[in-house]
Symmetry: C2
Subunit: 424 residues, 2 copies
Amino acid sequence: MQAFENFNKEELVKRKNELSEEYENFKKQGLKLDMSRGKPCIEQLDLSNGLFNDVQNLFSEDGTDCRNYGILDGILEAKRLFAELFDVNTDEIFIAGNSSLSLMYDLMAKAFNHGLNGFEKPWSKLDKIKFLCPCPGYDRHFAITQLFGVEMIIVPIESNGPDIEMIEDLVSQDETIKGMWSIPMYSNPSGITYSDEVVRRLANMKTKASDFRIFWDNAYALHHLYDTPDRLLNIISECQRAGNPDRVYMFGSTSKVTFPGAGVAFVASSKENINHLKKQISIQTIGYNKINMLFHTRFLKNAATVNEHMKKHAEILRPKFEAVHEILDRRLSGKGIASWNKPNGGYFISLDVLSGCAKRTVSLAKEAGVVLTNAGATFPYGTDPRDSNIRIAPTYPPLSELRTAIEVLAVCVELAALEKVLAV
Amino acid sequence: MQAFENFNKEELVKRKNELSEEYENFKKQGLKLDMSRGKPCIEQLDLSNGLFNDVQNLFSEDGTDCRNYGILDGILEAKRLFAELFDVNTDEIFIAGNSSLSLMYDLMAKAFNHGLNGFEKPWSKLDKIKFLCPCPGYDRHFAITQLFGVEMIIVPIESNGPDIEMIEDLVSQDETIKGMWSIPMYSNPSGITYSDEVVRRLANMKTKASDFRIFWDNAYALHHLYDTPDRLLNIISECQRAGNPDRVYMFGSTSKVTFPGAGVAFVASSKENINHLKKQISIQTIGYNKINMLFHTRFLKNAATVNEHMKKHAEILRPKFEAVHEILDRRLSGKGIASWNKPNGGYFISLDVLSGCAKRTVSLAKEAGVVLTNAGATFPYGTDPRDSNIRIAPTYPPLSELRTAIEVLAVCVELAALEKVLAV
């Protein structure tokens, strides 16, 4: 296909008219398609319907009556399962409630109110706190830092992870940079996985702030699409090796393994960080839902059976991701107006359109009945400086609806690009 | 029985020797009895084994797939059930996770970090924050305020509630008094229920701080022991009537209705407070465990069936409370060394021993294998100024063990009293 830059004005206008007609035809169909959030689809949920098959015995393997109070950091078999899945020791993990996001919020609140392990002062006692935000990133992360009044610094995401030289440079000089968000594997939405080198440099880098902490949201660690998955280095052991054992808190959950909102979440870190956290959490709650932990460990069993379970998810999701690639390839490749990734896992495809065209594209799609994540959402404060990035969440709609939605999106991408080119 | 004050020294020494012998005999039995926390017993837990009887259909009555993301403030039927049970409207309630304590902690954290509805400033921006603490009270409440560096002011609990004149006086003068803990029904541990007058005066009183808030922990609202239960006025509507609609946050859960740690918790307040809270919580989590809400509403059904269910709890607990009364009456009444309450509900009996004797009593009991809640735990900072209050938690041990434990306790109360009297 020819790039638009080689078209003359007449050809551009002609193409725009063709697209406008196609767009109007879509509008007439009265579509109502939602691709705004990374939700599992019904077939994926059905994979876990066996979660409540064994609900008669509510005692854990060490005889704990999971119906009563007791045990703050999770039942033994849940700690063992998650420790195996995420390659940590059972004393480096805390099993909590249904939401890893609320654990991240809660740790941020604790960092501000009381301080985390190794802090000289709670962050609320300091005038200025900054966080590094690899972008495009996850809107809910940025909303948390925004709520706490944290200044967010954009760090561009590259194919191996965030710009590590920029990070090293910033944290070595600025004591007010206290932390960093990360989705290190099949990142939301870029789909990339941090390289071994990036992980090692994050673990080893000198930070001016002694209380610099990485919030390592390992949300998609198990969510491969293919049999040759990406590999992520274990940052917790790298931090230990580097002499910075308390630098990182890793988060994860079964939200996209079993049931979103009804799963089990955890935080993993150094033993010292976890022990400190346990003391703080002992003030906040008597304990988390052990019965749900029990149901989960009985259903998921061990790392090998979880991997088999995740392969079933992949079988459902692969055709959806590939449909997006096929349509975007056919409609947009070679035109010089869009680029996108083909991730090996995770929940998103990140689409970059011409600068200044993302909002217009999303708005055109919305008018035609296709709801996407807001343009800008993948950047702090909801503002993409280049107005270029669009997050595609292909998991939830049925394949036929997804195909229609992506056809509409592709038309909108091209239409918005032509509007821009012709307006010059 | 004769009061000790009428004994001469010889008689006191004789009595002490008798008791010491009895105490040593108990010690020889190698008892291991734990009455430290207000835990339901196994028979109570068994009442809710039907919670997971209907686990095939995971859709709520409005068709929401409870297995997926969506709905922040609880499924419709859960809101309806709790609204009926706690006499509020469904737009005045937020259904959350498994722990009302963690909701209280979270609201305190939000009050400090971001401010609650109607706050001019978050509390972390102020130099000094004080809370009123009716005492004896709940150690976990005081631990939360202590963690946040809140200065705690003891307000004595009387038979109708906390000393309301003292409260009115303090809050009218001191702008730094920002809040108050309350367990208004079958209070922990005093067992009293706030009178209508106390509730009305709390709702109506003038407070110097415009952001004065009552944390109304309605933990035992459903937990009657007898068919003629105490009655608690609805403080939310009283606050509305008084023109102070945003003054109170009410908390509760099914921890002692179904399963502690695996139940459903809520916060209720004015519609404006709840709407403000929803916005804040939308940053923190995508939602709470809707499947557990579904199981709970199917099992508990409505207020009438919940009341029937709670009567079964009462049948199990009544003999335990009455055994404590019988033993304390027989062993201690008339001696002028102890007083205790006979509550109509809740989880505790509050025992007051001679000033300066609570720690010694608890320590003697521990040596004899009976673990009680730490003396002092019912006061801020773990310090009972009179060293007099002991919380008895009779629910968990089987009746025969409970009887033994209370016999031991009564011996220790008398022994500690005699040690004190004879040391003068």
